[in-house]
């Protein structure tokens, strides 16, 4: 396990990897039988769980691996890949494509839909860089990988802000705007140059303003972003991270993203991706993650994984006319008729955890298949619709899932970890950035890693940095601070902070607003200048472990010690970006007039002052040449001059 050996050298992530690996091991022991057999009439693996449910539902004996956040999924991939890709020991296909849609009805009545598309490309990327044959893997991305020696690439485009307080945690977190982070291979010598070039190429591929990524908004985080695939680099000089909080995401970014899919939008789940509906939502995020993964348990062969995700939250109020019901047609204005023929699996998961007896909402058509997964530290139950089975589509040959709510709106959630950020103060000279991190766990504290990248035109006074929890000073155990250089690089601040249980931790730092040169202002200077989201990475104690009084009945022998596998999980959350007004000259005609007048007045004042303060004397006109000569002679003679 190369990944484990390498990661263990990192200060923080020892804990992370350890817990994640234990998850993997636990699953391996509990899982019996393979995935293919389970889809049909499987013998349930979690027998103790299946006994508790209604008779007609069956359990799918697999775990939803995709729902685990990136960090964990990276390692889990090792075990998940052989189970899903290589059933019954046949030689695996060279490329593999899977598609998935997860729908989670949210407490607020909104609905969260998450598309996951995964393309695996079995190629030994370490030996040969030049690849000429492309199957399912998009050529444009494959060329990027080989040309720029990319080890890992993560790019996300998000329109909107994920409302943790109402929606809980997302499967793939992303900050508003565009985010790009790349690990380069250690063979790259000019990392900055390659990074700049790569950003420009990606800008073309995704029709986005990624070409605005330059040294003033790029940082090299030391601990927050670790490789998610198999990796043997931990030297963060090969890592580049940049966000563009101002980036507007729209159809023009979606279209190239859709073209990367093997089936395009012709078949499979991707037919649902109609932009007029996707952009009629509360939150929209699309992402592309490329990373190397292991093909088998011992990591003998490796392959590239391209994971395309699209998360969208539909708003109850703006789309429904007061009726609390959702259907595929209402969400996407399409229904499903077939799976993508190239896909090895094609499934729809619906989160029915809060709805075991159908008391919250009603789901139709009914499916007998259920599955369980530990997602973000919580044990969730999902109804599964397998699109590769014809029976899913029923007699009308089309699947239109319908969720009809029965109860009224829920209250605000209290997620274990959430954060917010704002600018305090008034006036255009100074200000203060406040970052609040809430730990809502009743009795456990946990560490978080805070990453702040602030543009140079906000000059941070780092001596004013304070971290307080419960009114007391909370000393960070690790601080990495890189001061900014004007017009060259931003501030980078990384801190490892322990959040006490049930508390709010406040990080404040004062700043001064720089006065820019007049050509450095954007065309709309009075809009303000953006500061990207802070990134908070944390290992959060799991909800399952917290739940001592389980409603879930389990055998007595299994419930004495809290299960270690689920004791904590990795979460990355992003705060809101900031909009800061800088002192802005009035770029208008009166301003020019004032400038001109001031110049004239200054010139006039100078001469006037000169005249007023100088004393004047009448000077004798200078004598003629003859007279001067005469005077010299008279001087020599010792006679008084004329």
């Amino acid at each position: 396990m190369a990944a484990r050996r390498c990661l263990s050298s990192v200060l923080l992530f020892i804990l992370c990897t350890f817990s994640v690996f234990t998850i993997t091991r636990c699953q391996e022991t509990t899982l019996a039988g393979d995935n293919g057999a389970a889809a049909g009439d499987s013998s349930p693996a979690d027998t103790e769980a299946a006994e508790q449910t209604v008779e007609q539902t069956r359990w799918e004996a697999t775990e939803v691996t995709e729902a685990i956040p990136d960090e964990a999924a990276a390692d889990k991939q090792d075990s998940a890949a052989p189970e899903t890709v290589a059933p019954s020991f046949t030689p695996p296909p060279k490329d593999d494509f899977q598609e998935e849609l997860v729908i989670r009805p949210l407490h607020s009545g909104d609905i969260y839909a998450s598309f996951q598309f995964r393309t695996l490309w079995q190629t030994d990327f370490t030996r040969e860089n030049k690849v000429s044959h492309y199957g399912l893997f998009p050529k444009s991305l494959g060329q990027i990988i080989s040309k720029f020696s990319v080890r890992e690439l993560h790019i996300s485009f998000t329109q909107g802000y994920w409302r943790t307080m109402q929606w809980g945690q997302p499967f793939q977190p992303s900050p508003p705007g565009a985010e790009l982070w790349v690990w380069f291979q250690d063979s790259v010598t000019d990392v900055d140059g390659t990074w700049k070039e790569l950003a420009n190429v990606l800008s073309g591929i995704f029709c986005a303003s990624l070409n605005f990524i330059d040294s003033t908004n790029t940082v090299q985080p030391s601990a927050s972003f670790k490789p998610l695939g198999i990796a043997n680099v931990t030297d963060h000089q090969f890592l580049r991270y940049a966000t563009l909080p101002r980036e507007i995401v729209c159809t023009e970014n979606l279209t190239p993203w859709k073209k990367l899919l093997p089936c395009g939008t012709k078949a499979g789940l991707a037919v649902l991706l109609k932009s007029e509906k996707l952009f009629h939502s509360s939150f929209y995020s699309q992402a592309v993650h490329i990373r190397p993964v292991c093909e088998d348990w011992q990591c003998k062969t490796t392959s590239w994984e391209l994971r395309q995700t699209l998360n969208v939250v539909f708003d109850l109020h703006t789309s429904g006319q007061g009726k609390r019901e959702w259907s595929l047609f209402k969400m996407f204005s399409r229904t499903l008729t077939e799976a993508c023929p190239l896909a090895s699996t094609s499934k729809i998961y619906i989160d029915v955890t809060d709805n075991p007896q159908g008391e919250q909402f009603e789901l139709s058509p009914f499916t007998a298949l259920l599955t369980q997964a530990v997602v973000l530290g919580d044990r969730r139950t999902y109804s599964v619709y397998d699109l590769t089975q014809q029976i899913t589509f029923g007699s009308v040959r089309s699947l239109n899932l319908l969720i009809r709510w029965k109860s009224s709106e829920g209250d605000m959630l209290r997620p274990l970890l959430h954060a917010e950020r704002y600018v305090a103060g008034y006036g255009l000279q100074t200000g203060e950035i406040h970052t609040l991190m809430y730990n809502n766990h009743p009795y456990r504290s946990f560490p978080v890693l805070l990453l702040d990248s602030v543009p140079w035109y906000l000059r941070l006074y780092i001596h004013t940095l304070t971290v307080t929890s419960k009114g007391k000073d909370n000393k960070p155990s690790y601080i990495h601070y890189q001061p900014s250089k004007d017009r060259v690089r931003p501030h980078l601040l990384e801190m490892l902070v322990q959040l006490p249980p049930n508390s709010v931790t406040e990080v404040t730092v004062e700043f001064e607003r720089a006065l820019l040169k007049w050509t450095e202002y954007t065309p709309d200077p009075n809009h303000g200048f953006y500061v990207g989201s802070s990134v908070i990475s944390a290992l959060v104690p799991s909800i399952v472990a917290m739940d001592t009084n389980r409603t879930w009945e389990s055998p007595l022998f299994s419930s004495f010690f809290p299960c270690k596998e689920e004791s904590s999980y990795f979460v990355r959350i992003y705060t809101e970006p900031l909009l800061v007004n800088l002192p802005t000259p009035d770029f208008s005609m009166p301003y020019n007039v004032i400038c001109l007048t001031c110049t004239v007045v200054a010139v006039g004042y100078g001469s006037l002052y000169n005249l007023l303060t100088r004393s004047f004397q009448i000077e004798e006109p200078s004598p003629g040449l003859a007279k001067r000569l005469a005077n010299i002679i008279r001087k020599m003679r010792g006679v008084p001059p004329l």
Partner: protein, 615 residues
């Protein structure tokens, strides 16, 4: 420049200026006043126009349908308000949540420096409730605010109802690009102050508030709504904020444009616009409107809940519904549509409002006077001070013609002058500081020894200190060892005149109205006062033109302008309450008028008083 470099011509020019000083000053004064009065003459003013492109030609269709339901909500609110005897926090939270907002509350408390007798409050405790409507696909960087104060009694219930109705309506719309914060604040300005301080995490006035849980980024614009009847005849726009700050003129333009579009009568300073500018009554109407604005701006107090936003560079205005006995009434649906339109246009903004003027006066809602037009009026008054200073300087520098060793004479005369200038300067400023500090400090002692309430104690102490300052010249002269010389008072007056010029100049840049009103009264004093004028008459004039008396006239004049004349008795009571309000405004919201008058203007006036009684 040749004029000044030639000593003969220079001498001639200076001679002219000193000889004609008095007539020039008088002409300047008259010209300044005439210019100011001319500002409200319509042909001299500009029509308002929308400068901001994003709000200019964009089409907005107003569709708000639910005025009646909003009024019903208002009635429900009023019932709950009566039941709880204050702000129905729980009901508001529940109602806002039902409308799909993220709801938060903020508790605050404030003990006033002395009881506020106008609003009968001393220890204030309250709760603000606000709901944030999150715009779809917006990253929480920008927000707009709509507030309605939860007033005691039966006031403003309709405003709250309409606010909730609009919240519900906007919740179902997809076009929003900025979060909208719907705020219901208790105890009007104090609640507003607490909320704004909480939102920006500052504490300028020593208020206790609980931190806010939810925010929407930087606030771009805000409107405060005051509505106390189901139907209105007209809507009044209030612009004057703290310290005489005004919102960007485009906000007023926006309101005016929508009133025109929807066909609602709109007023400013409660005055309708008139078309007969060429008639005397039409002109005097415009003068009245502008003078009201000048008076309100000069007072430096926030004239609506919007006033406190301006400190944070948030453009804000108050819209007041007025129900008079006119025939054509406007219902709540129309007002809702007006607000909807305004918010949609504000929602379209790409930048903060900055295109139009921040310094202006409005003789009517459709006309304005910009800073370039009104500043000359003040400039003409300020020039008098500079001319007088030049005159004094020339008198000081020119040696008395007949003495041969004039230079040594001046040295001998001006050396005691330094002390004779410094002493009155320091003493009068100490009096000013006493006027600023003592009324609050000594209120308890005053209440113990005299049969007065705290508020009366503060106001009467202030008046007592002010009056006691008039006895200063007597004491100052006693402190000085030698006799005051002729040169001495000239130097003192030169300093005082320049001091006043700088003081008024700075004030007028920040708050034109205050600067102009002060200049109007103080400049004549500064110009004519010498030790040689008849003492009693001059002293009387000086007292009449002192800042305190200016305030007294302003009280009467203000009511005259509002067409609500008051008797002297009422006026005096009002005068006392205005003083207490001014002091309260300073302590509660950070208004600068009281310290400005007490610490700077009053000492400056005392200097002239000193010169009059120079020995």
């Amino acid at each position: 420049m040749g004029l000044l470099s030639d000593p003969n011509r220079r001498r001639a020019l200076i001679g002219l200026l000193t000889r004609l000083n008095a007539p020039i000053c008088i002409v300047c004064y008259m010209a300044g006043v005439a210019w100011f009065m001319g500002l409200s003459f319509e042909p001299f003013t500009l029509r308002t126009y929308m400068s901001e492109n994003a709000m200019g030609s964009t089409m907005v269709e107003e569709r708000f349908p639910a005025g009646e339901r909003a009024l019903a909500t208002g009635r429900e609110f009023s019932a709950h308000k009566k039941k709880t005897g204050g702000m129905p926090v729980d009901w508001l939270v529940k109602t806002m949540q039902a409308r799909g907002l993220e709801v938060f509350t903020q508790r605050f408390s404030r003990t006033l420096p002395f009881p506020d007798e106008n609003k009968e409050r001393y220890m204030v405790k309250g709760t603000n409730v606000y709901g944030i409507l999150r715009a779809p696909r917006a990253p929480r960087t920008e927000a707009l605010v709509l507030t309605a104060p939860c007033s005691p009694g039966d006031e403003n219930n309709q405003a709250v109802g309409l606010l909730l109705g609009l919240a519900q309506y906007f919740r179902n719309q997809i076009y929003l690009a900025k979060d909208i914060i719907f705020l219901i604040n208790e105890h009007d300005l104090i609640g507003m102050q607490a909320w704004l301080e909480g939102y920006h995490h500052t504490n300028t006035t020593g208020m206790d508030w609980s931190p806010l849980q939810g925010r929407g980024g930087s606030i771009q614009a805000a409107l405060s709504l005051e509505l106390s009847s189901n139907v209105v005849t007209s809507l009044d726009l209030v612009l004057e904020g703290l310290n005489g700050q005004l919102p960007n003129l485009d906000l007023a333009n926006l309101f005016y444009a929508f009133c025109q579009k929807i066909g609602v009568l709109c007023t400013i300073q409660g005055k309708l616009q008139r078309n007969d500018w060429d008639s005397v009554s039409g002109y005097s109407h415009a003068v009245q409107t502008m003078m009201l604005m000048v008076m309100k701006q000069a007072s430096g107090r926030p004239w609506g809940d919007h006033g406190l936003f301006l400190r944070y560079h948030i453009e804000a205005a108050t819209i007041k519904g007025v129900n008079s006995f006119r025939q054509d009434k406007t219902d709540a649906t129309t007002i809702g549509r007006l607000l909807e339109g305004m918010y949609r246009k504000l929602n379209n903004l790409l930048e903060r409002l900055h295109q139009s003027y921040f310094f202006y006066l409005m003789p009517s809602l459709s006309h304005f006077v910009s800073i370039g037009y009104y500043m000359p009026a003040f400039g003409l008054l300020a020039v008098i001070l500079l001319l007088r200073a030049l005159d004094l300087w020339v008198q000081l520098v020119t040696p008395p013609p007949r003495t041969e060793d004039g230079d040594t004479d001046i040295d001998q005369q001006s050396s005691p002058g330094v002390l004779s200038v410094l002493t009155p300067l320091v003493i009068s400023h100490l009096t000013g500081v006493a006027l600023y500090m003592l009324p609050i400090r000594f209120q308890e002692m005053a209440v113990e020894h005299f049969p007065v309430s705290e508020t009366e104690a503060v106001v009467l102490t202030a008046i007592a200190i002010y009056t006691a300052g008039l006895a200063l010249p007597h004491n100052t002269n006693r402190l000085l060892t030698g006799e005051g010389t002729e040169q001495g008072w000239r130097v003192l007056k030169l300093v005082a005149v320049l001091y006043l010029a700088v003081l008024l100049g700075c004030t007028a840049l920040i708050n034109f109205s205050l600067g102009f009103i002060l200049a109007l009264t103080l400049v004549p004093v500064a110009a004519f006062v010498t030790p040689h004028v008849p003492k009693v008459l001059s002293a009387f004039v000086l007292v009449i033109l002192s800042p305190a008396c200016t305030l007294l006239y302003s009280v009467f004049f203000f009511h005259e302008l509002q067409e609500m004349p008051i008797s002297f008795q009422e006026g005096w009571l009002l005068y006392l309450s205005v003083i207490s309000q001014g002091i309260l405004d300073h302590y509660l919201y950070g208004s600068l008028v009281y310290p400005l008058i007490a610490v700077l203007v009053y000492p400056c006036w005392l200097l002239f008083w000193n010169i009059l009684f120079w020995k």
